[in-house]
């Protein structure tokens, strides 16, 4: 759900790149955050809560609340709302605490 035209803003997007989300190939733009790219692809559920496994999406979008943590390129607990998307990234929903070793 990207904004194509805006009355005040011009969105200067970087290069179009691809990444995978839970194995599915998706499009994004260089320079945007992982969470923004996912949201643009209508992905709202980014993970599950630790104990009750409730769906989690982002909340603050600025790196404060830890709601958006996902496993990216094998690394757990990545703050996707403040981490930039890169070509070929593998992004996965994180169940529980993720593997940190």
């Amino acid at each position: 759900m990207r904004i194509e035209e805006h009355p005040i803003l011009k969105f200067n997007k970087g290069r179009k790149i691809t990444f995978t989300f839970n194995g599915q190939i998706m499009d994004g733009y260089e320079g945007e955050t992982i969470a923004a790219a996912l949201h643009a692809n209508d992905v709202k559920v980014l993970g599950k809560s630790l104990f009750k496994h409730r769906p989690r999406g982002f909340y603050c979008a600025v790196g404060n609340c830890s709601s958006c943590l996902m496993t990216v390129d094998g690394a757990a607990n990545v703050k996707t709302c403040v981490t930039d998307l890169e070509e070929g990234m593998t992004v996965q929903t994180q169940e529980g605490k993720g593997v940190i070793l």
């Binding site: 035209e5 805006h6 009355p7 005040i8």
Partner: protein, 162 residues
């Protein structure tokens, strides 16, 4: 009530309008700023000394209708988009109204669009006469519409359908 709804009542609106004689002489500003907030760019923008806020920038702006030429610079500068320009000099049964319109799609000149009142209700259809969006307005386009005179005190906004 105003503090609950954000909609000024008819009495409040009428106080901001000049006399019908003045409206029929030519374009003039109606500044719908009803509450004291720290803000004075309308005074800074006016080249004709027609708007006064004064030393205390919280004061409600007062319009000197004799000095006002209806140039609409204040309209594009008002951060609250609270100003409109009315002109009853062009036609006996219609009035021209200029409003700020910061949405897409911008209507086209000649297009008939929905005219809305202060509650956002569709009260009549209006014709778009002009759409100005120069760089100096900093992305606040000004749309001039032609409306039936009887809606002069109610018309406040438009809706341009996709």
């Amino acid at each position: 009530m105003f503090e609950k709804t954000g909609i000024p009542n008819a009495e409040m609106v009428m106080e901001k309008f000049p006399s019908i004689e003045r409206i029929n002489q030519g374009a003039v500003a109606v500044v719908e700023c009803y509450k004291e907030i720290p803000c004075n760019p309308c005074q800074t923008a006016c080249k004709f000394d027609a708007i006064k806020v004064g030393e205390d920038i919280n004061s409600i702006p007062e319009v000197c209708f004799e000095n006002c030429t209806g140039c609409a610079v204040c309209l594009s500068k008002c951060p609250g988009l609270a100003i409109m320009i009315v002109d009853g000099s062009k036609c006996s049964d219609k009035a021209e109204v200029k409003i700020p319109y910061e949405f897409l799609p911008l209507p086209a000149e000649g297009q008939i669009v929905k005219g809305l009142n202060r509650e956002g209700r569709h009260i009549t259809d209006v014709k778009v006469l002009k759409v100005l969006n120069p760089k100096s307005f900093d992305r606040t386009p000004i749309v001039t519409i032609e409306v039936d005179r009887k809606f002069l005190y109610e018309i406040r906004n438009i809706k341009a359908e996709v």
